[in-house]
């Protein structure tokens, strides 16, 4: 009897896990720009389930910026909408692209604050503050600086030049303060897979789950080359209106890092 009761419960869990893992994405064409390389970065902004390749409609973000050398540059005007037909959807969806010319050395942290996404299945809004850092010309001066946004992941490991298997360590900050015991989901960006797409023998492999320590610090060793996303999730202490009703807002801090195989 126990087994019979467990089975539907487990099946429900298996179905539920992928739906949890929404990720904002900033995907740059390169994570390290050297002196002998092209200086134009192509950036894609998406809202997806990265491991499973399911896409959500992304409205024009509220903020899209790059931080370098303590300076902020607004990149919102550079965004261009792209429409595409997702395999799992009947209608066309939008994501966003921008080209950015690297002009000076230093860490370039790209940041996006999307327009809140209404998720009817969860009866709440989702808002993922997303970051990625691109290194330029050997000046490694800013990857460990917080941006001071609502919630963010602050790398403790330099977030580029990482080998496959390296431990990525970071801290979750909420309003600039460590978020104790934050919950972090980790997913592989399968659309940019290196050496073949990841497949998943069971649902728990889709999104890895980590609990940070009392200082909001977490660690993860990336087992495959490619882009890995880290999403620290929390609930906002404010609400948004939907059809005249106040609705909860899930806020997430997302950070993307690239692992590279040893030559």
């Amino acid at each position: 009897m126990k087994n019979t009761c467990l089975f539907p419960f487990l099946a429900l869990l298996l179905m539920a896990v992928p739906a949890v893992a929404h990720f904002g994405v900033i995907l740059p064409s390169d994570d390290i720009v050297g002196r002998d390389e092209g200086r134009t970065l192509e950036l894609q902004l998406k809202f997806i389930h990265p491991a499973e390749g399911q896409y959500m409609q992304m409205e024009k973000p509220q903020r899209f910026e790059v931080y370098r050398g303590g300076q902020r540059e607004d990149l919102l005007p550079a965004l261009k909408a792209e429409s595409f037909k997702a395999a799992d959807k009947n209608t066309n969806l939008a994501y966003w692209r921008a080209a950015y010319q690297i002009r000076r050395p230093g860490d370039h942290t790209f940041f996006v604050e999307p327009t809140p996404y209404w998720e009817p299945a969860e009866d709440k809004f989702i808002l993922h503050y997303t970051k990625v850092c691109v290194s330029a010309f050997g000046l490694e001066d800013g990857w460990h600086e917080p941006l001071g946004v609502e919630i963010e992941i602050l790398p403790l490991s330099r977030p580029y030049g990482l080998w496959t298997g390296n431990l990525f360590s970071a801290q979750v900050l909420r309003k600039g303060q460590p978020l104790p015991f934050a919950e972090i989901e980790v997913e592989y960006l399968n659309e940019a897979a290196v050496g073949g797409k990841l497949s998943f023998p069971a649902a728990p492999f889709v999104a890895q789950s980590i609990k940070a320590d009392g200082q909001g610090v977490f660690h993860y060793a990336m087992p495959k080359a490619g882009w890995w996303g880290f999403a620290a999730l929390s609930d906002a202490d404010w609400k948004l209106q939907k059809d005249g009703e106040s609705k909860s807002v899930e806020i997430g801090a997302v950070y993307w890092v690239k692992a590279t195989d040893l030559p």
Binding site: P105, G106, G138
Partner: protein, 108 residues
């Protein structure tokens, strides 16, 4: 034997760290008919009082100068050909940076 290997490994590691921290970097850009250079270590410290030389692609020396205390050096474009800039810091650390003729033309 294990101890010797560990010691050698540790010495190797200790030896490797300063080499990275002292890695010399050079970046240059062109604006208003001048070449601007920045010389720096990875953590942003400037490379002060370092000699910068500007060569043609076939190593003809065109221009030479010294970085200031902010690691900066600028000069008028010496010739509209592909240029190789070389900065030499103390202890023999040096690096180079190439500016293509096309970039010089844009920044003329």
């Amino acid at each position: 034997m294990k101890k010797v290997v560990s010691l050698l490994l540790m010495l190797g590691l200790l030896g490797a760290v300063p080499a990275l921290a002292h890695k010399v970097n050079l970046f240059a850009y062109v604006e208003g008919g001048r070449i601007y250079t920045e010389s720096y270590f990875p953590d942003g410290r400037p490379i002060k009082q370092a000699v910068i030389k500007i060569y043609t692609a076939d190593d003809l020396l065109l221009q030479q100068g010294v970085t200031d205390d902010e690691g900066l050096y600028a000069c008028v474009i010496p010739r509209f050909v592909d240029l190789k800039l070389v900065v030499r810091a103390s202890m023999g650390h040096q690096t180079s940076f190439v500016i293509k003729k096309a970039e010089l033309e844009v920044g003329r």
